[in-house]
């Protein structure tokens, strides 16, 4: 870690190497896929529960479509911004694991 003159400490950030990019890409891919599936299943289950409660069949597919839409919207939001891949989950631009003191 290097320091500037006023006693504050700056961190140097290096570019991710090939293996890191590969691991990041792999985990991102499967995370996106898991979001798609779990959006479908979660809101499908909620819709099915509602359908059971009101004795109707239609909330189940409606819930599934809604969940699909929600998950796709979230994926676009989470991964559709500049530098989204390198950000941590808090979306604040903290670069995960790419600092020099690791």
């Amino acid at each position: 870690m290097s320091g500037n003159g006023r006693g504050a400490v700056t961190r140097r950030v290096r570019e991710p190497n090939e293996a890191e990019m590969r691991a990041l890409g792999l985990s991102t891919g499967w995370t996106v896929f898991s979001y798609m599936i779990s959006g479908l299943v979660a809101y499908g289950a909620i819709g099915w529960g509602i359908g059971k409660a009101i004795h109707a069949e239609w909330p189940f597919p409606v819930g599934m479509m809604l969940g699909l839409g929600i998950s796709v919207g979230f994926v676009i939001y989470r991964y559709g911004r500049m530098g989204a891949l390198e950000q941590g989950r808090d979306g604040r631009g903290r670069v995960k694991g790419m600092t020099d003191d690791r």
Partner: protein, 81 residues
């Protein structure tokens, strides 16, 4: 039993929902292949743009995948209940 099943003289227990999903997965399969193929080519041409390219790659993937997942949902929508 659906009309198709009653009309066919020899029909085994065909699950049309599963058949429908199988057919519905053809298009998104090709589409996802295209998305990733072009993304890989773009990353190979310009490695420094990898991060930006992969952003759009994941968005494209999710939008294409939604069509395949809709194939899972549609049998329930058109369920003759």
């Amino acid at each position: 039993m659906s009309a198709l099943a009653t009309a066919a003289p020899v029909v085994y227990q065909l699950n049309f929902g599963a058949l429908g999903y199988g057919l519905a997965a053809i298009g998104p399969g090709i589409g996802i292949g295209l998305v990733f193929g072009h993304a890989i080519e773009a990353m190979a041409r310009q490695p420094e743009a990898t991060a930006r390219i992969s952003l759009y790659m994941w968005i494209g993937f999710s939008l294409t995948e939604i069509l395949a997942l809709l194939g899972l949902v549609v049998p329930f929508i058109f369920h003759a209940a």
